[in-house]
Every structure is written in C-alpha cells, then in structure tokens.
C-alpha cells in the first residue's frame, strides 16, 4: 500500500521559478527584489490504545516576494503557481511598495555579505520516507505499547505518534544570489496517562527527533522514558510558598535559553524592548555563562547554509564568561545599530525578515545532574514550566511549574500547581551549577541548571 505524495517539482523548476519571479519584479519597476520558493511533504500518524487514530499525508508549496522601490519595500505571498498567480504576486508587491514609507535602513544585504556555506551540512536524508506506511504506523504503535507496558497504572494514552517530513527551499535576489537546500526530519513520541484508583490523572511524554531514520531512538526506548516521566508525577501535591534553589531539567532549562535569545535579537534591541539592550561589553550573567549561536553545525536542527536573506550562517558567541559580546542580527537591524549582520535573518513567506537562531546553546559544565541534585539540601527540581509569563522589557519572570521536591539531595515527592518567579537579570547571575548533559533535541539546547534566589509560590 505504497503512498506517493504529489509529484515534487524538480530542482530546476524551483530555481527557475525563484529567479523568474525576481526578474519579473525588476521588469515591473522594482529597484531590488528577493523571492523565496518553498515546497514540502509531510506524513503523520497517531496510534491510540493500539489503533490508528489519524493518518495524514500531503505536500504543499508556496512562494513569497519582497520588492524594494528605492527605500520603500513590501511583500506578497501566494500558493498559486499559475501564470496568472505569479503575475498577481509581482503586481501586488510592486503596487504595495508605493504605499510604504521610505526607510533608509531597508534593503538587501551588501553584495559582499551574500553567500552560502559550501560544505554538505547533511540536512537531508531521503530515508525518512523509506519505511513503508504500515511500518511507520507500527513505530507509533510500538512506542505507545512500550510506555503502557511499564506499569499497570498507565491505563490511558494520548497516543504514540510518528512524523516524517521533507522540505526544499530556494532563495533568489536581484543581486544575483541563488541558494537552495533540502532538509528532512522524522520524529517519534509517546504520551501515556497514569491514573490511580479514585485519584486524578497525570500525563507526560517523551520523544526522539532526527534528520535521518537511522538516528531515531527505538520506539521502545521512547515509550519507556515517557512512562518513567509520567509515573513520577503520580501523587503530586501543592507545597507552601517558599524560597529555595531550583534545579531545571534540560527540557525546562532550554526555555531560559529561549528567553536569552529573544532578548539578544537586533529587533528587541533597537526597539528598546529588551533588558539586554545597550549592554554589549557589560557583564550580564555569571562568569560561568557562555551562550553560543551556531548555524553551521553539521546535521544540526538549526543549521542552514544561508540565512533568510542569503547571508552565510556562522558561529557567534553571544555571551562569553558572562559578558554580552554580540546581538543576533539581520541586515536591517545591523544597519539600525551600526553593526554588521550576523547571518541570523529568518524569512517567512511574507513580511520583512525577522531574526532566527541557528543552533543555540549554553556551554555545558562538568557536574552530572545527579551531583547537582545531590548537593541540594532542600529545593525544587522543575520538570515542566507552564505559561508565557516572561517580560523581556523588564526581565520579570513568573511561570507555572511542576516537578519534584528535593530533600537532602534526593528527589522526595512530586509537586504541582506552584509558580516560580524572579527576574532574568538576577537569574543569569545566580546560575550556581551547570550540568555536563548538553543534548540537542531541537535547535536549542541547555544542560541541567541550578538557579538560586527565586520565589516559589504555592499554598
């Protein structure tokens, strides 16, 4: 029962399309233009309580055009690849550009900045679709089964899932840049639910994601870890408000990195909406803190040969031994701040480029998570944060949390329905321990962290 998705346009097709759209825009009066053409395929299945619940498979493609009329710019996007559709795409962008204002900082990158990494980043493996559909479904079924088999209290499930996808992107501009690359990914997850007699339910999950099927963890490994995480939540209680050190599981500490990233973007800086703005050269974190962005890591989830404007990606040290060394910039924000792009432009189909991370991580320390927890007399091991309570303008931080209470260096009992609050400016200076467990399960990664001085609010 082999399924084939839509016929994939050949490489030549997408490249020709992208350069053709740029040519048409120039002929229609644009002074500069940039197009992006994307196409992709996806497959996803969820198996719940042993039966297939959903099966989804499709492909899609779309294009976006950004034009400049001198210092004015506008953009259009469309999924209509007919002659008529392309004409409307071009006409729309050129007309729209007339209504925007002149912005002396706008424009394509300097020609000298354009380029693409020449080595093979190993972002694409066609083996993500090599499993026949029945086996893909079976992966999902096995992950769920492995989780539920661990303990009789795991009676219900939000399912096991298997996803696979490929993407193909071409970027072209009127300065002659044409770049393209393909990427692939596959992932597996299990979401078991525990229930005790007469008690409430708890749910957790685990997953594996990779660019190639060969690097995906086995369904059994994913299922067992999902079960372990779910079971340790059983009997969770609310605790009284207190101040105590918190230790963050890597799945949670990575969100702090996300906050650092947002505070370091050129957009947030020139808009004066980041607590890190204007602090280049200043110490904003403890001396043990080094944060790096690297878009060049072979196989990395955040790697690409060129950014959203056709500038090669690179390795940028954002924070070094606590000192803020660099923002993450695209062409526009670099010009605004009198700096150079760091190759971090991120381009959707529509709108001006924003800023995206490559592979973004905190350099690991030397202690194991067990050693870090072992040193805590009384504290809170956080396994989940909830909500969006981070204010990057002020640094104020307040999020819901669940996890396990630490008593004399041991994980004692599960905790839920509490909050953890503080301010990022203080938190970055109070990271007293960094684990050696840096593992990329996405494009950002952070080891186990211990942070002191925060307030836990509960009963």
């Amino acid at each position: 029962m082999a399924t084939k998705t839509e016929v994939v346009p050949t490489e030549t097709d997408l490249r020709n399309l992208a350069t053709d759209v740029v040519d048409r825009a120039m002929k229609a009066g644009a002074t500069a233009a940039e197009s992006v053409v994307r196409e992709g395929n996806e497959f996803s299945t969820v198996v719940r309580m042993g039966s297939v619940e959903t099966l989804k498979e499709s492909g899609s493609r779309a294009m976006g055009l950004r034009v400049f009329m001198g210092q004015r710019s506008a953009s259009t996007y469309s999924s209509d690849f007919t002659e008529d559709g392309i004409q409307r795409l071009v006409k729309g962008a050129v007309e729209l550009a007339h209504v925007t204002s002149e912005d002396s900082f706008s424009g394509l990158p300097d020609p000298s900045e354009l380029g693409s990494l020449s080595n093979d980043l190993q972002l694409y493996f066609d083996d993500v679709y090599s499993l026949p559909p029945e086996e893909r479904i079976d992966y999902a079924r096995r992950a769920e089964r492995a989780a539920l088999d661990v303990d009789p209290r795991l009676k219900n499930s939000d399912g096991g899932s298997f996803d696979a996808g490929t993407g193909h992107k071409v970027l072209a501009n009127s300065l002659g840049f044409v770049g393209e690359y393909r990427r692939s990914s596959c992932s597996l997850s299990a979401v078991p639910i525990a229930q005790v007699e007469g008690g409430s339910m708890q749910r957790d999950y685990w997953f594996s994601v990779a660019r190639t099927l060969a690097k995906l963890d086995s369904p059994e490994a994913v299922g067992r870890e999902a079960a372990r995480r779910t079971l340790r939540r059983i009997g969770a209680r609310k605790i009284s408000s207190t101040e105590a050190p918190i230790v963050l599981d890597p799945m949670v500490s990575v969100s702090i990195l996300g906050n650092i990233f947002e505070g370091a973007t050129g957009d947030a800086v020139y808009r004066q909406s980041s607590f890190m703005a204007g602090k280049i050269g200043q110490k904003i974190a403890g001396s043990n803190i080094t944060v790096i962005d690297d878009g060049t890591i072979v196989g990395g989830f955040g790697s690409e040969p060129f950014d959203g404007e056709g500038v090669p990606t690179r390795r940028t040290v954002v924070i070094e031994n606590g000192e803020l060394k660099s923002y993450l910039l695209n062409t526009y924000t670099a010009r605004k701040l009198g700096m150079k792009t760091t190759g971090n432009a991120s381009r959707g189909l529509a709108g001006s480029p924003g800023i995206g991370a490559g592979n973004f991580f905190l350099q690991p320390g030397t202690r194991t998570p067990q050693q870090i927890i072992g040193d805590v007399k009384r504290g809170f091991y956080v396994t989940e944060f909830m909500g969006f309570g981070v204010n990057l303008v002020t640094g104020d931080f307040s999020r819901g949390a669940s996890g396990l209470w630490i008593e004399n260096g041991e994980l004692a009992y599960p905790v839920e329905e509490v909050t953890v609050a503080g301010n990022l400016k203080d938190m970055l200076n109070n990271i007293s321990e960094i684990g050696n467990d840096l593992v990329f399960r996405g494009s950002s990664a952070c080891p186990t962290l211990r942070i002191d001085g925060m307030t836990i609010a509960g009963a």
Binding site: K56, S58, Y77, G85, S273, F388, T394, A457
Partner: protein, 476 residues
C-alpha cells in the same frame, strides 16, 4: 442543489458533479463519512513603527482538505492545487485510512439556512490601503502624544477574507464568507533606567468603519500607552494564595483555560480530560453559568458555520455551577451519541478539524464591581492579561497578568509587576463567591492554540471574585 455565488464554482470551475465525484472517491475504500473543505484566504497586513510605514504585505492561500472517517480513524490529505486530478489524488490518499469496499452512499448535497453574523457591506479586505494606513498612523500619533515617557509605539492592522465551501457525504453543503480585522498597538515607556511595556488592540468580523465609529485608533493607542506608563511604577507582586478579583473582559481567559479546553469533547471521549465523566457534577459555584456561543454578531470568535459545515450554537457548558455539556464536532458527537454543538474547527485546509471554542464567557451576576472590590481585605485585582496555558489531564492551568494591582482594605492600591496565576480547573470556579453585573467580552484579540492549530476566539466575564488562587509573585 441550489446554485450559489460561491467563488469556488466561478473561479475554479468546480461543479456540483465534481463534488459528488470527489466524495465518492474518498469513500471508495470504505469508511462512514467523508468531507471536503475548500478554502480561499486573502490577507493584508501593514505596520507602523518609528512613525513610518515599515512594512506592508499581502497574500493569497487556497486549497482543499479531504477527510475520511472510519470508526475512530481519520484519514486526511490536502492539496494547494485545485485541479481535479490533484483533488482526486488527495481523496484517494485520505481513503487509505479505511479498509474494504464502499458501504456508505453519498447523500444529496443540501444547503442549510445559516446565521448571518457578519453582513459587512464593505469588508475591510476590499477597502483601499490608504485608509488603513491612515488609521495606523493615527494610532502612532496618539500613542506618542500620551506622555513624553513613551519612547516606542508600534501599530499594525491585519485583515483577511476567508471563503470556504464544505461538503460532506451526509449531505452537508455549506459556504461562508468570513471577514476578520485586527488592530494592535504596543508601547514602550522609559523613565531613567526603568522600562515598561503596554499593549492593546481589537476588532472582529467587522469592516473598516468599525475603527472610524466604534473603537478608534486613538482608543487603542491611549490604552497601550496608559498601561505602559502605569507599569513604570509597578512593584513586586505578592506570592501565595489570596483573594483574586478579575476585571471584566479579557480576564475571561480564566474560563478558556480553567474549563474551556477541558470541556472539548475529543478529550472527554478518550477519558483524558480532568472533566471526563463529570456531566451533572458541580464544577463551579452556584453563581457561575458559562456558555460557549458562536452566534454573537460580528465577534472575532463567531462563525456562521463551523469548519465541518455545521451551524454554530449557543451551548451552555456550566449552569449554576453544574457541568451540562461538552463542545463537540461530528466525530465526537457520533462516537459519544451526543448532539453536534457546531464546534468543529480547523486552522486551515491543511489541518484536521477538532472541537474548539468560539466565544466562551460567564453570564452576568448581581453584584456591583465596587462591592466586589470593597469585600477584599488583601488580594489581587487583575484587569488585563497576556496568555495562558492548561494541562487538561491533571487540570492545572495558568494565565499571566499584564496589568494588576493590590487590593488593601477594600481599596485598589499599587500597580504590580506581571505575574502568573495558577489553579486547578475542576475546582477553581467553585471559589467564585461574587459575580458582577458588568459582563464584557474581550476586544477581539484572542487566538487559541491546540495541537499545533490556531483559531480565533473570544472570551468574557463580568468582574468576579475568587476566594483563593495562587499568585506567582516574588514578595512574601
């Protein structure tokens, strides 16, 4: 089948015969039900920052999603190319979920009379761009004029027109033209080393005249600027359990997170929601009656038909504190043997529909907001929020304040730094001891995320008092 003005017939030359053929193909390998969802979406967005029009963009997205249901199984495929062979291919792919010969005949397609919740005589999408720009520039001017400590104003206007055609093998045939407009303003205030932010916005299924006559650009800008200025003086929020008073309108996000998601039928069918099996039980105080109503005119969260072609309804979720019902879609209603409440929604043709909220709010009570505040010895008064989140399995939910104050001895006192409130869905509302007479819906800013799909929603409450809720501040 009656002839229709539908864009899909005119522009893509899709005939009624084609539709029957696609449904037949989708059911050719078995299955009880199939549907096709056609969508044509145009959208415009403009933004002003540093007093200049920095960006303008426009786009078109069109496609068709085909779904086949076989027992509890869903097969799905979509195409952004509306050529007949592409749609047939998608139908065949979706059909793979079923096994065996076709058993269900395709019913005759019959268009049902629907609501007319947004007869916008001139949709914003058609208005000329100069008038939209003028609105956004007015906001910029008003924000900057509010106070010399306002150092940044960003304003944007986004509108879209979404045209849909849904056909189902049970005879469903529905079309809808759905306008949407949304104005947003955010401000940064600075005073010495101190910075703060404020935000406002709104809209709905309205035309441009809404912003000229009802809620002006100046209104939103002033709101955002006012909030930013107040936050400059914010002090640490308290930490721990205390009385909490919520102001009317957007603080209704409490309901969305505490009970709304937990009452979506798919979770309850599977027994994964903390509210599973609780129909008829008390989940809130007697003062609470909560509805999900997709039929309010012009609201952001309203739709004439859901994305499965079912007419929307006003569904009572909680009546005087007792749980009455869940929000369903076609699959849930069939599997649970309950009526379809018309809450089957999807983000786009690329997505599988599932139960989602529309406008979720609590009915007004009899207390006055003034009495509610006076009744609090020491507590929190929160009038505006950012977003929230919920774990529907253990029931824990959060929402984060963007404007809140202390209440001390019955009086509103100091503004507080942003903090997160956390509670437990099945009992949070049992602590509602006072319900105001001042029900308000939010301004039209809500977007709900579930399973990777975003849909526009509305929320609302009157001023209410919760006797106890955990406030995630830093001051003990």
């Amino acid at each position: 089948m009656t002839h229709t003005q539908s864009l899909f017939f005119q522009k893509f030359a899709i005939t009624p015969n084609d539709l029957q053929r696609y449904l037949g193909e989708a059911l050719s390998a078995g299955g009880e039900y199939a549907d096709l969802y056609f969508e044509y979406l145009t959208s415009t967005s403009i933004a002003v920052e540093e007093s200049i029009v920095k960006s303008a963009s426009q786009g078109i997205s069109a496609g068709c999603g085909v779904r086949v249901l076989s027992g509890e199984r869903t097969g799905y495929a979509y195409t952004d190319d509306l050529a007949p062979e592409k749609i047939m291919r998608a139908a065949r792919t979706a059909a793979l979920i079923a096994r065996g010969p076709a058993t269900q005949p395709v019913q005759n397609l019959k268009e049902a009379a629907g609501h007319q919740l947004y007869q916008v005589s001139s949709p914003s999408a058609d208005a000329d761009i100069a008038s939209k720009l003028e609105l956004v520039m007015r906001s910029d001017k008003a924000g900057r004029a509010f106070d010399p400590r306002i150092v940044q104003v960003r304003a944007s206007y986004v509108d879209e027109l979404r045209q849909i055609l849904v056909i189902g093998s049970d005879g469903t045939y529905a079309t809808d033209v759905q306008p949407m407009a949304r104005f947003s303003v955010s401000c940064i205030a600075k005073s010495g080393e101190n910075s703060a932010r404020g935000a406002s916005g709104g809209g709905g299924r309205v035309g441009l005249d809404f912003y000229q006559n009802e809620k002006t650009p100046e209104y939103y800008a002033t709101e955002a600027a006012r909030q930013a200025i107040i936050q400059l003086d914010a002090r640490e929020a308290p930490a721990g359990e205390m009385e909490v008073v919520l102001g009317p309108g957007w603080p209704g996000i409490l309901l969305h997170e505490a009970i709304g998601h937990g009452l979506e039928a798919d979770f309850n069918r599977k027994g994964t929601s903390a509210f599973s099996g609780m129909i008829g039980k008390r989940v809130a105080s007697e003062k609470c009656t909560v509805v999900d109503n997709g039929t309010l005119p012009s609201r952001r969260g309203s739709i004439n038909v859901d994305d499965e072609g079912s007419p929307t309804q006003n569904t009572v979720l909680i009546e005087k504190g007792i749980l009455k019902g869940y929000l369903s879609d076609k699959l849930s209603s069939k599997l649970m043997g309950m009526p379809d409440t018309g809450n089957g929604r999807r983000e786009s043709y690329e997505h599988i529909p599932m139960p989602r909220m529309t406008n979720t709010y609590m009915l007004a009570g009899e207390d006055t907001p003034e009495d509610i505040i006076k009744s609090v010895k020491r507590g929190l008064y929160a009038v505006n929020f950012g977003g929230g989140q919920v774990d529907i399995t253990n029931g824990k939910f959060v929402f984060s304040t963007s404007e809140a104050y202390m209440i001390e001895d019955g009086k509103v006192t100091a503004p507080l730094k942003n903090c997160t409130l956390i509670g437990n869905g099945p009992d949070a509302l049992t602590k509602v001891s006072m319900v105001g007479n001042d029900l308000k819906l939010d301004e039209g800013v809500g977007t709900c995320g579930k399973d990777g799909q975003s849909v526009p929603v509305g929320v609302g409450i009157p001023t209410i008092k919760l006797d106890s809720m955990t406030v995630g501040g830093t001051a003990r």
